[in-house]
């Protein structure tokens, strides 16, 4: 096993509100290896973005890391000071946001903003910076990069802006790229291009990607490994192929069943009954049991721990092993 690039141990994050602190991420542990693409899937509000923000230490004034460690290249990011973070952000870890329309400063040319990253971290300036900016824009598949570099953000389309954002995030050849719903704001054809671009860059530069999305299709396309998040907990962690073939948590299975596929010609897609519980009103026992078709009495009694299943898989379901042994035909019988 190669050395881990990012290792998150028992990470908990809470937000202070009017009624005291609310824990939105509970004791999450996972690791990313160099060059690996890890997808994090979950519903809105499940805590998947909070993980990314915690790694970047961008939780704002009200969010705090209440427990756990974020080990990145021998350093604990959770304990770094603001000054030390400046050297990590943009240098060792790049980040791409959901909204390419508002992620660029409207008053500066994209070339300038890209050059700023180069000057901040690599000390490049003048002609050297200009050359590198054009190279980077070319690398992310932007046609006539020299002209585009002098363009203002409003002169570019959403897809082009997202390419610029990727170029900025990749400018210093970071070890890790965090992409928070990078394609949600883009239309489907552009989505595919951007994903392809990210995958190519990852393999060319050996950059690991932490891909946060609620789109199972995106994960299936991109990820080597998948983490499924529900109500602030990691409920399943598995290699992508294994997860899609045979999920070991009922939530994952229902998510997959709710995915439209061209082969299945049924009229309506199944939905998961109920809604995600608010972090302040979690049910006792397993957090998913009120919505789980497989819930049994022990599920209501005590919260399950995440357990190893072997072959690099973990699940937070006491009936997980059962799910793996059941044949695919039996699975269909569960709504």
């Amino acid at each position: 096993m190669s050395a881990k690039l990012l290792e998150i141990e028992e990470l908990s994050v809470a937000f202070r509100g009017l009624h005291g602190a609310t824990e939105v991420l509970s004791r999450a542990s996972f690791a990313i290896e160099p060059g690996e693409i890890v997808g994090i899937v979950g519903e809105s509000g499940s805590g998947k973005s909070v993980m990314a923000l915690a790694v970047m230490r961008l939780l704002g004034a009200t969010g705090t890391i209440t427990a756990g460690r974020i080990r990145f290249e021998e350093r604990d990011l959770a304990a770094l000071g603001e000054d030390e973070l400046l050297a990590v952000r943009g240098r060792s870890i790049g980040m791409v946001f959901q909204e390419p329309m508002t992620s660029l400063n409207p008053l500066l040319t994209v070339g300038y903003q890209l050059g700023e990253v180069l000057s901040t971290h690599l000390g490049l300036s003048g002609a050297a910076a200009r050359r590198r900016v054009v190279e980077l824009l070319d690398e992310v598949g932007i046609a006539s990069p020299a002209q585009r570099a002098a363009a203002y953000p409003h002169e570019l389309s959403g897809g082009l802006r997202q390419r610029v954002m990727i170029a900025m995030a990749m400018a210093c050849r970071p070890k890790l790229l965090i992409a928070d719903e990078p394609t949600t704001a883009l239309d489907v054809t552009i989505q595919a291009q951007i994903l392809e671009l990210m995958r190519r860059i990852s393999s060319d530069a050996g950059t690991a990607i932490l891909l946060i999305t609620h789109d199972m299709g995106v994960v299936a396309r991109m990820a080597d490994r998948v983490l499924v998040v529900y109500a602030g907990q990691i409920v399943e962690d598995a290699p992508a192929r294994a997860l899609f073939a045979q999920p070991a948590h009922p939530y994952t299975r229902l998510l997959l069943a709710a995915m439209p596929t061209p082969r299945r010609k049924t009229g309506r897609l199944p939905v998961i009954p109920g809604t995600l519980p608010a972090p302040s009103r979690l049910p006792p026992g397993c957090r998913f049991h009120p919505r789980c078709p497989m819930a049994i009495d022990p599920c209501r009694a005590s919260p399950p721990d995440i357990t190893e299943l072997g072959a690099g898989r973990r699940t937070r379901c006491i009936r997980g092993p059962e799910l793996l042994t059941e044949s695919a035909g039996d699975l269909e019988s569960v709504p």
């Binding site: 970047m56 961008l58 004034a61 973070l85 400046l86 050297a87 990590v88 952000r89 943009g90 240098r91 790049g94 980040m95 946001f97 909204e99 508002t102 992620s103 660029l104 400063n105 409207p106 008053l107 500066l108 040319t109 994209v110 070339g111 300038y112 050059g115 700023e116 990253v117 000057s119 901040t120 971290h121 000390g123 300036s125 003048g126 002609a127 910076a129 200009r130 900016v133 570099a149 002098a150 203002y152 409003h154 954002m165 900025m168 995030a169």
Partner: protein, 292 residues
Amino acid sequence: MTNPPLAALAFAPSDPGRFRRRFVRDPKACAGAAIVLLLVAIAILAPALAPHPYDDTDLLGAWAPPSWAHWVGTDKLGRDILSRLLFGARTSLVVSVSVLGITLTVGITLGMLAGYLGGWVDSAVSRLVDIMFAFPDVVFAILVTAVLGPSMLTVIAALSMVWWPGIARLTRALVLVQRNEMFVEAAIVCGTPVGRILMRHILPNIVPPLIVRASIGIGFIIMAEATLSLLGLGVQEPQPSWGSMIRDGLEALRTDPYLALSGSAMLAVTIIGFNLLGDGLRDLLDPKLQVR
């Protein structure tokens, strides 16, 4: 900072040549700049341009209507109004531009720090601003002049002290909006130092409303200076200022309107000039309004 100067960076947004070309093609900005330059020229060349000394009294010729000897007439002491207008440009421009310069510098700096850093910095600045707002402007200005003694510098100091809190509060509010913009977050994610985020990413985005505020402020400051002079706390007679000339002229507005009207006309032209220049600059700084 160990980083190379940003102007040397690739694709710097401030290309002086292009800015000049667009400036000369913008009629508003050109008209504003012409008016402001004209006023500055008047202030500098006042001794050469004025037909009479500004303090030459002629009590028998008081309140004279316009004539060949006195183009705009004379005031209550028979002094030539035109000469006093020309010299008054010095007082009014020096006071208003100095006060604007000081208040913008102080107000923007404190407002940006308060808005961006938040926490105790914000609390300290905001409470200080609240305290300043609690005093009526004139009362505070009287307090300052009572301590420093009447002079033009005192007027500048007093008006600066009552003017910066408004700028600081406006700046803070504008920064609060910008701080939540994604591009600021993106800049943080790229490891951009705080100073550069403030100067490069936030400041240019909050300049347009500040320009509007500043160009409106010119008129208010010129009139506030007149109020202080009326109380004997500002520029002392016979030194002319537009504000005090308008005030003197109001007493005789029905019988001899030339003093009040000519003073007001100069004030109006000044305000229009600065507003046009401000508007033009605001448009020139917005890349979305640029035609290539």
